[in-house]
């Protein structure tokens, strides 16, 4: 299994000013959620981690609550190569997040579960076997499982990218 990567969740990205509006606006919005109850409070920490780890850069886009095939994906990011990552957040009870993440793997290049606590060993093994990424956000951000680059259906990946770009434009 991949080693967990931990970065202080309080770290502010040094180059936030260079980000495209959708990402910087997303962080701004997510920081307002940090004091709120529920899953959304994990978002800002995760976004800062992704920027610090350079998974999100100056050409990246981010969109929340992207409507997709009759449901919504909590967070979708698009990097400079056009690769799409989908994130499902869950504070506890990760079964539903795993279900959604499995669905997302048909449409996204990387599919993640972002959990408020450690998943059970069974779920962690499942994530590993299915190539899903797992973050634990709980004061710090830990990448518990590194995702495998998926091979989504090209038509679905392209449609999700377009949908996320439209949603990202709405973030601004």
């Amino acid at each position: 299994m991949s080693a967990a990567v931990s970065i202080n969740a309080a770290t502010k990205p040094a180059d936030a000013a260079g980000l495209l509006p959708s990402v910087s606006e997303a962080i701004e919005l997510a920081e307002r959620w940090e004091t709120m109850p529920g899953e959304r409070r994990m978002v800002a920490s995760l976004l800062r981690w992704l920027i610090s780890a350079r998974w999100l850069g100056s050409a990246s886009r981010a969109a929340f609550e992207v409507p997709w095939r009759g449901r919504r994906i909590d967070l979708v990011t698009i990097n400079s190569k056009g690769w799409v990552s989908a994130f499902e957040f869950k504070l506890g009870g990760t079964a539903r997040a795993f279900e959604q993440a499995l669905y997302n793997s048909a449409s996204a290049h990387r599919s993640f579960i972002v959990s408020g606590g450690n998943p059970t060993p069974e779920y962690r093994a499942l994530a590993h076997a299915q190539g899903l990424g797992v973050f634990v956000v709980n004061g710090s951000v830990r990448l518990l499982e590194r995702p495998v680059l998926q091979h989504p259906r090209p038509d679905l990946a392209s449609a999700l990218r377009k949908r996320a770009l439209v949603a990202a434009a709405g973030n601004v």
Partner: protein
């Protein structure tokens, strides 16, 4: 409508192209009175241009009268339009608020007025609602002549949910007034609207119509107990035995199974509308984008359909002209069209089976499906939605067993 097994569609947020593509896969159309009254020109143009085609399916207009059985403190524009139409321009006679109406609020004059206006609206539909005929006719991509446009194939009389003896008696008076107002030779159909499956049989036994439409409020085929489904089937069987042909105003695959009890047909929305509740829940918007999974005989979410297909294409694949045995990754309009083709295929396969054959086939299909799902060794997070998607089978099989015990 009463030819076994008639497949009717409810007109809703459907585009002209979709309806055209569905030709041959449904037997008729039911247009909600609310839409017919509110969007008179648009709906009229749409429906009438379709009716002018050589292979036009018949259509009827549903008066949706139970709307006026509850308080309407904040009526939608379409409710207001229907009330205005039925009352002859005085909608407040029907839109009661803040108190819910009681049967005594509907006096003889109001009943006569409603019946007369409704009959007139139906009889003149082809002439008065044709303003946008040409606009919609052009979209059909086929020559249609306005003179060939047809009116409704019959009149559905205003009806009420028989929530009490008072409402049932009033419903009967509304039907009688409508039948009396209609010219000879025009079919007038009664809707027997029951608040429960258990009551339906009593209501059907109280009338003698040879052909009628039935609606059991909130009969969610996928969720209700087998005993309720069996009550419904029992009522249909008794009516059939008594010489009454029944058509279901709303129904999904279980209603197709009830062809074995004599049910002559059922209506559903395109991509939705297999049941309806009274009092109505506030809902709006187009049908959700879901995939009708033929082997499950129900809608499931598209992602689950794809996950299953990617492991075993036979589980959620479909041979209809939209799917062509490919992946269940469809555009919204294709999802809708596929759902109608899939239902039509179900009707062709199941619509002529007797109870024993339907029971045996359903059991066999269920076992095969469970075997195929088990062979997949699905990840645990997918097992739960799959269990939810198959849980109705045992209720349906139990309901058919209960009916078979009585045969």
């Amino acid at each position: 409508m009463f030819e076994r097994f008639s497949h009717y569609l409810a007109y809703g947020s459907t585009d002209q192209q979709t309806m055209r593509d569905l030709t041959g896969s449904y037997d008729g159309l039911i247009v909600p009175g609310t839409i017919a009254a509110f969007q008179r020109e648009g709906t009229g143009g749409f429906v009438l241009s379709l009716s002018a085609k050589a292979d036009a399916p018949p259509y009827l207009i549903d008066p949706r009268f139970p709307l006026f059985q509850t308080a309407q403190p904040d009526p939608k524009q379409s409710h207001y339009a229907l009330a205005a139409l039925l009352s002859g321009g005085d909608p407040d006679q029907l839109l009661r608020a803040p108190d819910a109406p009681v049967p005594a609020d509907f006096d003889g004059d109001l009943i006569e007025t409603v019946a007369r206006n409704w009959v007139e609206f139906n009889l003149s539909y082809e002439e008065l609602q044709a303003a946008k005929f040409n606009k919609y006719a052009k979209r059909l991509d086929e020559d249609v002549d306005q003179d060939a446009a047809k009116g409704p194939s019959g009149i559905i009389a205003p009806y009420l949910v028989a929530d009490s003896d008072g409402w049932w008696e009033l419903a009967k008076r509304l039907y009688e007034a409508t039948a009396a107002a209609a010219p000879q030779g025009v079919d007038v159909f009664r809707v027997v609207a029951s608040p429960s499956a258990a009551n339906l049989g009593l209501l059907l036994a109280d009338i003698d119509d040879p052909r009628l439409i039935v609606w059991v409020s909130d009969l969610k085929e996928l969720e209700v107990q087998p005993s309720r489904l069996a009550d419904y089937g029992r009522a249909i069987a008794a009516a059939t035995e008594g010489g009454k042909d029944c058509f279901a105003l709303y129904g999904g695959f279980f209603s197709v199974l009830l062809a074995s009890q004599g049910l002559r047909g059922a209506c559903h929305g395109i991509g939705y509308g297999e049941h309806r509740s009274w009092p109505e829940l506030s809902q709006s918007g187009p049908p959700p984008p879901r995939y009708y999974a033929p082997r499950f005989h129900r809608y499931i979410n598209q992602d689950l359909a794809y996950q299953l297909w990617s492991r075993d294409a036979g589980l959620t694949g479909c041979g209809c002209r939209i799917c062509n045995n490919g992946p269940p990754v469809l555009s919204y309009h294709d999802l809708m069209k596929h759902s109608v083709f899939a239902r039509q295929a179900e009707i062709e396969r199941w619509g002529n089976l007797d109870l024993e054959a339907a029971y045996e086939l359903l059991k066999e299909e269920h076992e095969e499906l469970e075997d195929d799902l088990e062979a997949l060794d699905l990840p645990e997070p997918l097992q739960r939605p799959v269990r939810r998607a198959t849980s109705h089978f045992s209720a349906w099989i139990s309901a058919l067993e209960l009916l078979a015990e009585e045969e």
